[in-house]
Symmetry: C2
Subunit: 326 residues, 2 copies
Amino acid sequence: MNSNMEKPYVVGIDIGGTNTVFGIVDARGTIVASNSIKTGAYDEVDNYVDEVCKHLLPLIEANGGADRIKGIGIGAPNGNYYSGTIEFAPNLPWRGIIPLAAMFEERLNIPTALTNDANAAAIGEMTYGAARGMKDFIMITLGTGVGSGIVINGQMVYGHDGFAGELGHTIIRRENGRLCGCGRHGCLETYCSATGVARTAREFLTARTEESLLRAIPAEAITSKDVYDAAVKGDKLAQDIFEYTGQILGEALADAIAFSSPEAIILFGGLAKAGDLIFKPVQRAIDENVLNIYKGKAKLLMSELKDSDAAVLGASALGWEIKNAK
Amino acid sequence: MNSNMEKPYVVGIDIGGTNTVFGIVDARGTIVASNSIKTGAYDEVDNYVDEVCKHLLPLIEANGGADRIKGIGIGAPNGNYYSGTIEFAPNLPWRGIIPLAAMFEERLNIPTALTNDANAAAIGEMTYGAARGMKDFIMITLGTGVGSGIVINGQMVYGHDGFAGELGHTIIRRENGRLCGCGRHGCLETYCSATGVARTAREFLTARTEESLLRAIPAEAITSKDVYDAAVKGDKLAQDIFEYTGQILGEALADAIAFSSPEAIILFGGLAKAGDLIFKPVQRAIDENVLNIYKGKAKLLMSELKDSDAAVLGASALGWEIKNAK
């Protein structure tokens, strides 16, 4: 704790395809200062890093300077913890392998670590959220895609190559599975992401004839939010879409439990906020599909990270984990 | 290493449904003495433990006495590492929860740890076999059932409850999956165990009309060994059975890779000894089914533990891991 007294802050940088959000965070998970830039506005990664630093440095100075920052944590798509690089991230403007952690470390002279966004969310949950004190849990992020961060024996699972924990790309439907962005068929992500829910809506609207509030929306424009709004108003078809989504997610989680037998599975992201609409079918499908010895053991929890802060908090939490030796 | 000099041996006890085999093992994995008794001959677990001790003690005395034994490791079905108990093991004569580790510890006054047989095999492989020096690997045991032992960050994955790592009971066929002994349908074990292979043989012989050496054997009596013997002789149907088995196992392993991204997957047990007959289709199915970022990374290896010794070696390896504090 001594070093936390001397260095009471960490910096979190969340790199998304649209925005890059960064902030200074204290040990209790309060964001004391933050700002953002547009990720897509910088074709050259050097210019991008310069621009983040230009906006970040005044925040650091206003809070006592770099000496009071224990570390910088970065959450980024396709982030590799071991190398501090992002590798072939399809939704970012920079091609190939980018040594982002080193680039920030050089400019700011603060130890910097990087991992993918779902892992960052898991570390954030362990540091500030629903997983405090837990040694074994699985974080599932339900966003545009489905991500996962796995913690075992109190440690993040990075795997041999730094890319472990892609439960969104395990195959949940082997026959006639949906085509995934990864080029394969039947990935969990094609069913249980926000885009998967919209896809289910279009399928259901075509296959079924009943009335639905969703029929007022052009099929291609339907979002998971539309499905949620309709379900809350009692729309049966919209509710069935959540049942279907939760069923498939629960089936996948029952298999994940057979892998690491976690204390809890934590759902995070837009779909998780649908509450009982998604939690009830997920829980039922886990109970129906899990191996007997695991029945009733793993808790199904909602993330306790505030949505607007979660990305920066998650990334920042990695900053506390940086070894002083680095 | 100092304590290994003073205590150069461990004891391994492998408890199977038929036999209990035990031996004294040195740091290089040589079994210096061993013996066995029939597990099923003892309805009372107290009598059983007494009998094991009666045969084990002379071996211990002949090798310098209990002071030279660092620990006892037990591999047993449904073994729980945390509690040292076996819990509701369907193939053992004793019902309920049995505190086996404590029972041996009391009688022999040697620290004792217990885990399930697949975890013991994984620890054995890490200590004496193909996984020496590896921090992330998955052990798959292909026997009467399909077991798994998962090592992440150099540590055995026991999970929150001590029962993690049941990949044999993940669902690999959700539509028309085979009924499993666990009561569910489509478990990996129903396809890729020795009994799963025999089941496939019966299905193929019924569904297809071609000649096969296997038709000379009464369908209910066919074993995986018969299928192997026929395949080696060039029997097309028998070879197809291995293709089918390997395909399904490879599909399951591709998903397991997305979980922990291991350095290697190690196959152990009777089916693994079929060599190329099983390894080739497994490798091909992994390559065809694994997410792009993992392609070509995880090595597929055969266990290096000698078959006759593997169970005792695996159990014994747990003996080295026992904390002195215990």
